[in-house]
Amino acid sequence: MRFAEAWRVALDALRANRMRSALTMLGVIIGVASVVVLVAIGTGAKREVERQVEGLGSNLLVVVPGRIDIGSAPAVSRLDLADVDAVSRVVGDPSRVAVTVASGETVRAGRRSDFTTVQGVLETTPAVFTRRLGRGSYLTASDVDTSRRVAVLGAAVAGALFGDRDPIGQQVSIAGVRFRVIGVFAPLGQSLGVDRDDEVHIPVTAAHRLYGTQRIDGIAVKAPDRERIDDLGARIVAELTRRHPDTEFSAVTQQQILGVLGDILGVLTGVLAAIAGISLLVGGVGVSNIMLVSVRERTREIGLRKAVGARPRDIGLQFLLEAVLLTSIGGVTGMALGVGAALTADALSPVPAAITWWSLALAFGVSAAVGIVFGVVPAQRAGRLDPVVALRAE
């Protein structure tokens, strides 16, 4: 009963001062909306990264020379095909091992040309990286064994060189050497800022001949299961270190890449949300301020209520509810605005945004908590007012 009265009175107070209530809420609205938007964008970016890393294939282990670290320069590779055979023996299944030796080259077809990444690969690549062909077929073991000059084009390259025409069976020249197109990849889109349709695959042996090298840039292994992936990575690194004692090797899993990227994005999201949270705090100070005004304005009412039997906590509750109501209504409005802005950004701009229930619950919880924290002092002041003094107030 007393609670219901406090609730009714609090609502009534807000309604009696609509303009003031709305302006006070504005601070909270802006704060909550910006928290929601920034968390949505952070979450969206993180999901996008996860989706793309997962898209590289499952249980993937990438072995490269040097240390994998943010900011460290890639090391010069001294791996060659003999090392790949050694890794295959460690893995026990050559079909799970893929390699790459990449170079930026100009690819021509007739009068059209495209500068793209040309990768020398094994026939195992589609299985290891879960890549699908749109048209034609992929390289075969015999293509690799015989250094056959055949090429599989990324969707973007195919489009650039052949437009709507069917590239299968057509000739392209890579660094002046003619290759026959035998397949085109299904489009993949962007991944971590890289256009994954902008590449051409040729047999690794043909690439070695083309580039005049024997080197392998990196080895990727599709582990049989997630549990033994770290152990497998360690054994591969040990084998390669044995073969090249003066070179450091690293094996990274998707989980590690995800972890590192996720951590970075998590910190970024946290920082952004904290900055937005400051505006929520400022909004809270506004609520506190207006509540003190409200208490002063209604001093006589407080005195009267006390005279007829209201206890200090009845009065305190009434003002606390008023503050919480202010921030909660502001919070819900801010949430709606934030969700609207995030979804609009997601739909109309390249910025990814994902609304999560926890972020909404958090935003609402925080705004209600702001009401409690910043309403407590004015509420206590109201509750402790001396009724005689309060009744005399003008």
Partner: protein, 264 residues
């Protein structure tokens, strides 16, 4: 009467104003019997309002003993005192003190809120009391839609809705014209005689005071005359110069009693 509604023994109240002590009440001893009708008179600043606040448990004495409805005020916590006010006291103020933007019936029902009574029952009881003060046709009017006299009658209904033992009215007609003042006064007296609620009323009007069953005259924070002193010895405990009063209060009280008697 067996239990007095209010019992004050050597009650004092000193305000602290910027480090200076302002004694508003200096040792007041009086008993309000159940169903009594007491008029409190005295010059401005003599401590009448201060006394009313103490008698109603709105304030605490800085000295002496005050018992309301059988409970010692000094031993009660603020919420306990609030509950005691709610159960035993009804206040009527000079300035009405009605909640704006709130209907007459909801104003009257307000004390019942703090008793935990449900909304429907609150309204029923409030409407009944409003009927009793002659405002059965004004239930949903807000204070600014009522005349001064009507507003004060709403305030009286609010004081009555809890069935208190004492009605404390501090200059209830002070903001009203003569006609409305008379009507409010008649209502208060009628309630006193009919429902037996004790009425303690501060007034500046000697004619009004003359109609009361008992008159208490205050000056400089002490009771200088109490017509109950003329009554049979049964009420002698309430006389200020009784043995309970402080030694220095005796001459003042004696002096005042003489003067009050001389005035009659």
């Amino acid at each position: 009467m067996a239990t007095p509604a209010i019992e004050a023994v050597d009650v004092s109240r000193t305000y602290q104003l910027d480090g200076v002590s302002v004694p508003a009440l200096r040792g007041v001893t009086l008993t309000v019997a159940a169903g009594d009708y007491v008029a409190v008179i005295g010059p401005s600043g003599s401590g009448k309002s201060t006394l009313m606040h103490l008698l109603g448990g709105l304030d605490r004495p800085t000295g002496g003993r005050l018992v309301l409805g059988g409970r010692e005020v000094g031993s009660l916590t603020p919420p306990e005192l609030a509950t005691l006010r709610n159960e035993t006291i009804g206040f009527v103020f000079q300035a009405f003190h009605l909640l704006p933007r709130t209907s007459a019936v909801d104003n009257v029902a307000l004390p019942l809120v703090y008793r935990g009574i449900g909304a429907r029952q609150r309204r029923e009881r409030a409407a009944a009391v409003l009927g009793r003060v002659g405002l059965g046709h004004r239930l949903h009017h807000r204070p600014n839609q009522l005349s001064g006299g009507e507003q004060q009658r709403v305030a009286i209904a609010r004081a009555l809705v809890t069935d208190p033992t004492v009605l404390l009215a501090d200059e209830p007609t002070g903001n009203l014209d003569t006609v409305n003042g008379q009507a409010v006064l008649a209502l208060l007296e009628e309630l006193n005689t009919e429902s037996g609620v004790a009425l303690v009323m501060v007034t500046h009007d000697n004619e009004v005071a003359a109609r009361a069953r008992r008159r208490i005259t205050m000056r400089d924070g002490v009771v200088v005359a109490d017509s109950a002193a003329d009554d049979p010895p049964a009420d002698s405990a309430a006389v200020p110069d009784g043995p309970a009063a402080g030694g220095d209060a005796d001459p003042t009280a004696g002096d005042g009693t003489e003067r009050a008697e001389a005035a009659r």
